[in-house]
Symmetry: D2
Subunit: 456 residues, 4 copies
């Protein structure tokens, strides 16, 4: 087959996509999948005795070896509004004349095209899920390696209290893993489509169910036993779209954190050589390129998900526009999330953590982030609210004076009456205020940790 344009990477294929994913849903892949469906259809019809076996074999063989000029096919698709009729014409011309009447038997264009989107979408979904799992594996490695690496947690953009980088990485891991699972489940559930012109499979007489089952079996797709075609019920795609959105959100979280943590003033992590773009004008810069490119994809996902929902209400037996509206946004969404997942995996692959800088940043606020810890130790003697108020006052005073909270505490009798210097130091030790961070990482790793079977 003459390679179509869309299999080439062009200016943006490497920036925003994953070449393997794009190839799996390219023009060529779609046309090949259509031919795969046409071949399986006639063989299925032969399976149930509606087509002579030798005729089916001839057609299947012709479908397998058909050479199609995709650009030309695209031009011929205009008069009917979809590429299946001109493809059927080509296939018909390639089979022995006697076999011709059995080509595309009983099917409508949407049967073929939907099923080809299912086949290619399933392949793409698996690739993306694998990339996402690869990112998850690396997040698991980071969580394990940094189970006890203390850093400042930030909420609403501000220093909050201590946590560990391990817990942060475990928080990346869980949605990476679960979204990969959702995507695999959604694409593996994509059913075969076969309804004939209006969903009745009328051309097969009363044998329609059998043909549908045989087709599903031959293609290895679920849905062969469904009573109804899904010409107007687009929930299978909506579930895939939602799962792709989950993957995007999971990787987007990693990318956002990386952008935040690599900011010059924060600098708690560094991205790898591959993902750290220099600037021709500014030699000192190391931009977190993978995170930026992943982000650029993540931003595009909600609009594409919305478009698929917007196109999901199909009138009568088959839609007059909304079906056609699905094809490119679906492919675009797959391509974008493919790129997002690939960038996410690469990004995590090259991530270097700087525990010293983390500790340094944690100390920036002179112990103020430990105020709650101190207050809780004074709650017994002073009462909770007075203790809270006292420490808050001291923290504010320390901040205004540019002194450390430790110094303020040790200069305050209401504190030193109850806590000696060692007790104050213990209260100010962030390692003492990590709560369940360690065990939570352990349990997250047990649940979501490295998949030994993960591919890529």
């Amino acid at each position: 087959m003459r390679p179509s344009s869309s299999t080439s990477e062009g200016l943006f294929g490497r920036l925003f996509a994953d070449p393997a994913v794009d190839a799996s849903v390219s023009d060529v892949a779609l046309v090949e999948a259509c031919l795969e469906v046409e071949a399986a259809l006639v063989l299925a019809a032969a399976d149930v005795g509606l087509v002579p076996g030798s005729v089916a074999a001839d057609i299947a063989e012709a479908a397998r070896s058909l050479e199609v000029d995709v650009d030309e096919l695209g031009r011929d698709a205009v008069s009917t509004g979809n590429p299946v009729p001109p493809l059927v014409t080509r296939l018909g011309a390639a089979v022995p004349e006697a076999a011709r009447p059995w080509v595309h038997l009983g099917a409508t264009s949407q049967d073929i095209f939907d099923t080809s989107l299912v086949l290619t979408g399933r392949r793409a979904g698996r690739l993306i899920a694998d990339r996402t799992d690869a990112a998850g594996d690396r997040a698991a490695d980071l969580a394990a390696a940094h189970r006890d690496t203390v850093m400042i947690a930030r909420s609403l953009g501000q220093h909050a209290m201590p946590t560990t980088f391990g817990l942060r990485a475990a928080g990346w891991l869980a949605p990476l893993r679960s979204s990969a699972g959702s995507l695999r489940a959604a694409t593996d559930r994509l059913p075969v489509q076969l309804g004939g012109a209006v969903g009745t499979l009328a051309a097969y007489g009363d044998r329609g169910f059998e043909v549908r089952r045989a087709l599903a079996e031959r293609l290895g797709l679920p849905g062969g036993e469904r009573p109804l075609a899904w010409h107007t019920d687009r929930s299978p795609w909506l579930e895939v779209a939602s799962a792709l959105g989950l993957v995007s959100a999971a990787v987007g979280k990693v990318a956002l954190d990386v952008r935040l943590l690599t900011a010059t003033e924060v600098a708690e992590i560094r991205t790898g050589a591959g993902g750290s773009g220099g600037s021709s004008a500014m030699p000192h810069k190391r931009n977190p390129v993978d995170a930026i490119l992943a982000t650029a994809g993540v931003v595009r996902v909600p609009g594409l998900v919305a478009t698929l929902f917007a196109a999901s209400v199909h009138g009568h037996e088959r839609a007059d526009g909304d079906w056609h509206a699905e094809w490119l946004p679906l492919r675009e969404l797959i391509s974008v999330v493919g790129g997002v997942a690939a960038r996410g995996a690469e990004l995590l692959d090259g991530l270097a953590v700087d525990p010293d800088r983390m500790r340094q940043n944690l100390d920036l606020s002179g112990g103020a982030v430990m105020a709650e810890s101190v207050a809780s130790r004074l709650a017994g003697p002073l009462g909770r609210s007075e203790a809270h108020q006292l420490v808050a006052d001291l923290a504010r005073r320390a901040a205004e004076a540019g002194r450390s909270l430790r110094d303020e505490l040790l200069a305050e009798p209401a504190v030193t009456d109850h806590l000696d210097a060692a007790a104050v130091d213990a209260a100010l030790d962030p390692r003492d205020r990590l709560g369940i961070a360690g065990p939570a990482v352990d349990e997250a790793l047990r649940r979501y940790g490295r998949r030994t079977e993960a591919t890529t």
Copy 2:
């Protein structure tokens, strides 16, 4: 509690919403749920021995009986950016002074507010699923009643081939049922939220897991055994949003078909008195109001789903804006889909089918829609493609001459050599070209049919 504004229906509550659903996520319902969570939290902390039992009982009682002016609470929420801190202040003021330090123990605002959204969202989700199932029940009734009611199927806006109204209604039923199931599953999976300020539950020392489990148990929520808080992993909401989108698409399909089939020229169905608005200016009009109002909601859903996906990437340990961005779109989406499901149920409730008009419309094209059927009977003697071509020519000639296809067929020797008038009539009988329509309805009813347990 002083009823907040948002529990009143206003100008649009009946048009575009479902009062019961709206009430379940109203301002008042949210504040009550926050107090329910605060009560459960302190009781859970008592369960694991972190709070004296009597103190917990006092706080829980105070939470249950607290009177809150919601407008005032809303004003006080501005300085902290969310309503939980001023609510905690009110609750603190309502408990004995000795109990005050244990109020809101170890929780962050997001713990309380997310869990209150979970509680209210779950109630709303169940109501919407029930409405959707009620619509499904009615679709099942229609499918059963019209299993053999022949009508013309339409694809791309044009007459295609015969089908039955039963199959159309079964095609409504399946996604109504499956989307209701998806919504129940997604809302029932919504987990308890408890992470403390930064996800470490540090205030509970090493007892954080126990408190979380006890809280989940007390609230009857899943997620108590999760290792991680989901402060920044918003997939639970995304799954709810997607399921709401599926419900909307399922009802939207019914509404679109009703708008199409009630069009004056088509008139194959009529909507009930409740859903058929007259026009003051035009006494002859019967507008399919329920279908129109459902449609108006359906149009709004993709943008709201997109917004929730757009708000789903949360930085650091807790987000600086995207969390806040979720609340109203989530509630809006629930309200809109609540309205859509309610309109859908009402719409289907009043639907009247006109089999005579269906038959009349089917005959409009003078048998041309049966052309394929005739061609298939001539395929043996003439060869498939020649038979196809012959009938196509006759159909075109009939259309141009304003004659019926039957007359053209009986005037053509190439036809009458092989088919007599009875055979032509049989070929033109739409009941003979319904394929699997009947059994498909039967099987759809077996799978998705009337839920005897459905509430509403």
Copy 3:
């Protein structure tokens, strides 16, 4: 230049796009525009004396003749996250060594890439506006030709009162014309981008304003006098996106009406040969393919507009992801609306109107749509509300009995006491209830009518 993949049409380029529009924003067009900007930049710097004239001429000449392998450039773009740095490297290698330091002088990647998007976007915008105006011309022709062709107007899907097809077509014309104007204005306002690394144009010392002005002048772009770069102010693109959305809505209206009016039961218009796809399975069908394909594009527009708004908030001096997020949605939106406009023009080009069928449909409801007209003539003698009620009752009775309203009216003494048969007939004549339809068409044609200068 080796043609990139994206200039080929592939499977969908003809279905959903306009090859000329796509070519104007292709990978190759973008790279060529980048080189055009680099050339203009160095010439502008020479204009103000910052670069020796002969050096500038050498660089400009090299930019004009540079051969770039777009796929390779795309691969090299990954390390920096955008294609400008590797393009600058190639350009640098192509100029005499002495000229090399002046290549890309003082610019940042975003300056070059934004300006190249401006240049290509402006070309694309003009093409799309021309297509839209061509559609408008045809709508004007239809409005003029059918100024007095009576048809039934429909509101909320139901027959309402008489109108003319001319008024309908004038209603197409106005937004086609105004959206084309908005698009031209928005793309013609797109300003030159030049800010240097951080918007200060520091590399030009105090000559930055002069360079910017000279660059704008050389490229024929506005914005040379703006005090600020627009690195983070994306309103120019948002205005283009909105204008593209207006075009889409304008064409979408035509496409929707065509889908509605070509429905088998309505059949008041027919689409041309080019836009009326047959169906291989159903020889009698004539699908309004152009309207369907236009619709498929229209559905995709809101999500793309939303994406550009979502990507429009850029942090600090230049964004870390949202800038990159713009490129492909912007190009996609241009491509989609290009396709929409092209399909709209083709669709209108082949539209045939069937005045007889229009009249036939208008008569379907047996005069009931004229009820208001009759009532108004009885308002004098009977009082407005009683007259209204009487006619409403008669209309209902007629509908139920399957008789015409005329017969009911003439059998009712309360009517015949005041109106004789001729008066009843006059009241029932739709031509008498067209209000301002005719003059409104005349005035619309004066304002928005055929553009003699329209290209395409």
Copy 4:
């Protein structure tokens, strides 16, 4: 009029909205505007002689004084699908019987409701534009005050080169001002709607144009001279929606920068008391609450804009669902952007700038950000590319060794051969690399500076 629910602020009205804006588009405001339109309509009809003057005066007076229970009206709206018919019924009951036939004369519900949305939307738009201009005034003050306050500019999240805070603030100012202008223009262009049942104004005979003109004049609205109703041409709303999106993007930029610049490690600005929320659990925190709440609104805007575009394709003479779909998203968008603008104005009002910290952050990278400046001074003697390479090497070496770039430069003979210490210091002085920053601020203030006439 009994105040409807929607005029109360509830739990979220102060967080995410602007009470004045919300009041201007409340249920009550809409109903009052409907009555205002009904009054103006009958007076306009009297102006042209179609209604007796005293009858018109009676109806207008009744409309002005009508008491409406909005909840009840909302319930009664269900049967017709919009609130105008039951409102007309109420108005009819309130006028003398003889006047009743002239109530709502010749109008359709959409005429009244669209025009009431126009009236309320225009008021809301002006309020929002005023808030936005107030924010702009404060940005202008900041730009003026900090014209020469040096700070590090950041691109892609990383330190880039020096700029001034004045230039940053000028970059806020420009889109605040231009978006306020766009919003005013779009809302002031909103035209009167009057078309009658199907756009022909048939009930006025041939006087339709005159009535429309008179109505526009009475309401002070443009569009009186338009030949066509805009029942199905929704571009006026799309232009308002786009302008609201521009306002949101302009404020969103400020909010994002504030979130970035208040991050604990950056801390170059502080938000005011009103906008700096403490945390009950963490006394040291000062959250940029206004920026967070503004952000929460900004995130919601693209989905709402998309919804209005999605609802903008209206079939036939009046739509069967898409018109209804506009109302709430339009009001929601107004409310959200009202809140965004209000938060933006408050946020800027309390903003404190810390020039010392800015200078401190600028020095963080030890002069590396000035590398380009040094390189440019060595370009003469060493050649541009060699100078660039040399300085890049020294910067890298300095970063790795934890030394300042100055020290590295002064230790390198290839540098000191050409630059002495004073020259190196000059090259490293950021004030020397600000390019056009100062004059650009001056010019921006001239163009967009403080509006003495701004209200609020």
